[in-house]
């Protein structure tokens, strides 16, 4: 059963989604889309040295994508490149079916069983990494 997919924690991440919107001016802004499902994400960053001082995200997409952006809004401020890489790796871990250490990302664990939805969760993390020049 895929019931667990839309559990409260995930719906809450998508709905509350701290730091929703745009940041102008910004130090980096990346827009990505997934042509397969039509998801679209923008991440704006303001930096303070190597670390994220503030960020904003805008999603036109599914709940999974919005929840992933919401998790970024909640977790990414204060991170440097390494921290962002670690955060994205944690999300991948959740998608692989392993429990991530970051509590908020455990909401994505049930997505592991739905391969067609993995990219929905990955898209905001990819945008974040790209904005930070990771990889």
């Amino acid at each position: 059963m895929s019931d667990a997919l839309y559990q409260d924690a995930l719906l809450k991440l998508a709905k509350e989604a701290p730091r929703r919107g745009r940041l102008e001016p910004n130090d980096a802004s990346v827009r990505l889309d997934n042509p397969l499902c039509g998801d679209r994400v923008r991440i704006d960053l303001r930096m303070s040295g190597p670390k994220i001082a503030d960020l904003a995200h805008e999603v036109r997409g599914c709940v999974l994508c919005a929840a992933a952006a919401g998790a970024i809004g909640r977790l990414a401020v204060g991170l440097d490149r390494e921290g962002v890489a670690r955060l994205a790796a944690e999300a991948d871990k959740a998608l692989a079916g392993d429990a991530p250490e970051t509590q908020e990302l455990q909401a994505f664990n049930p997505v592991s069983r739905h391969r067609s939805r993995h990219d929905c969760v990955r898209l905001p993390f990819q945008a974040l990494k790209q904005a930070m020049g990771v990889e």
């Binding site: 059963m1 895929s2 019931d3 997919l5 839309y6 719906l11 397969l36 499902c37 039509g38 998801d39 036109r60 997409g61 599914c62 709940v63 999974l64 994508c65 739905h114 939805r117 929905c120």
Partner: protein, 398 residues
């Protein structure tokens, strides 16, 4: 009528509510049996072989062509076997289209599936043609009132879907044929969504080309048909080169076989063709008047049910006239993938997304829709499950 038990996948699990036949239908035992017989008792390459298996395979393959032709009231030499609708349309875009001149015009519509858009764009770019698209009404139908302004003496082809894979609207082909005839243009019809819903007299439509896929009409994947008017096919050069489509080959020069062989290069999808022939035979044995009634009754239930869901918006005709049982809807701002995923918890298989019809999504300013499609094996329990699922999706995502 209990057709469900003839479909092994559906019969194996009463909890499956398969409403995704618009993407690919399920397949009846009769079709599986025909393919199995080929693979275990007749398997060989077709044509040219004289041993008993080659004879049996050729008889089965050409017999399938005959059954397909008979089911669609066509002639055997008008049935070109392809790998599907997409391949059939691309064939015409090359073999017919490459004969067009810069400035010639092709008219498509905004309702089309990508497979009836992209080949014409590529042809436009190859040959310097003009590509126009008929608009779509708020009801989700091709706006044929625009035909007059758009079809000119330069128009060489009008290409449109018989039935929309998104809105379920059935096009008024007679009007299109009349407009095309008036200027000497050819008409290509994408029949992918029409053919699963019963027999059809293709030549009587008055069109020049009719394309469809087996996998949406109870047959295997990887097989489809281009029906072409004989004079059209005879006038066209080949598209793909290879075995079978030739008459004589030297390194310098090759001469070609007559249609349909001219357009069937290489070893064909023999089992697929045999499966499609069996699907036609199976369809011939059904009572399509009763099925059409039942399909429309169930479609009415979906439309009525959605009308009661707050935030649900049907993209397509709200009535049952000139439509097939394909119902698309948006649910508030919810992403169709979320909706389809929640439906899946109810065992309901629906497609969510742009349905390979992005221009139509743009027309309705939508990211996508959730689509339920009704088939002869659809039952009330499937609709019950769909409506329950939609209700849960609304509560969770609303």
């Amino acid at each position: 009528m209990n057709l469900r038990e003839q479909f092994p996948l559906l019969a194996s699990d009463p909890g499956i509510h398969y409403l995704d036949s618009g993407a690919s239908s399920q397949v009846p035992q009769a079709v599986l049996d025909a393919v199995h017989t080929f693979e275990t008792a007749q398997r060989a390459n077709v044509h040219r072989g004289v041993h008993r298996l080659a004879e049996a395979a050729t008889a089965a393959y050409e017999g399938a062509r005959y059954e397909i032709a008979a089911f669609f009231s066509g002639r055997r030499d008008e049935i070109v076997l392809t790998s599907g609708t997409t391949a059939a349309i691309n064939l015409v875009a090359h073999s017919f289209g490459d004969g067009l001149k810069p400035g010639d015009e092709i008219v498509i519509t905004e309702i089309e599936h990508h497979s009836n858009i992209v080949p014409w764009q590529m042809l436009r770019d190859r040959r310097g043609l003009v590509l126009k698209a008929l608009p779509v009404t708020v009801e989700g139908r091709i706006d044929l009132s625009a035909l007059d302004g758009m079809v000119t003496k330069k128009t060489k082809l009008i290409a449109l879907a018989h039935c929309s894979n998104v809105t379920g609207a059935v096009a008024d082909l007679a009007k299109v044929v009349a407009a095309a005839k008036a200027v000497g243009a050819a008409v290509l019809v994408d029949g992918a969504q029409r053919v699963p819903h019963g027999p059809l007299d293709i030549p009587a439509l008055g069109v020049d080309f009719y394309a469809f896929s087996g996998h949406k009409m109870y047959a295997p994947h990887g097989i489809g048909v281009l029906w072409g008017k004989r004079e059209r096919l005879e006038a066209m050069p080949p598209f793909l080169g290879g075995g079978d489509m030739i008459r004589h080959v030297t390194i310098e020069k090759t001469t070609y076989a007559p249609p349909p062989t001219r357009f069937e290069a290489g070893t064909p999808n023999i089992s697929g063709a045999i499966g499609l022939g069996a699907a036609c035979r199976w369809m011939s044995g059904l009572d399509w008047k009763a099925i059409a009634q039942e399909e429309m009754r169930l479609t009415g239930r979906v439309l009525d049910g959605l009308a009661k869901v707050p935030g649900a918006r049907v993209v397509g005709p709200l009535g049952l006239q000139q439509r097939i049982g394909v119902v698309s809807f948006a649910l508030g701002q919810a992403h169709p993938h979320d909706v389809a995923q929640i439906l899946d918890r109810h065992g309901v298989a629906c497609r969510g997304g742009h349905h390979c019809a992005e221009p139509l999504m743009d027309r309705f300013d939508l990211m996508g829709t959730t689509r339920a499609s009704i088939a002869p094996y659809t039952e009330d329990a499937d609709i019950d499950a769909l409506l329950e699922g939609v209700d849960e999706a609304r509560r969770l995502l609303g």
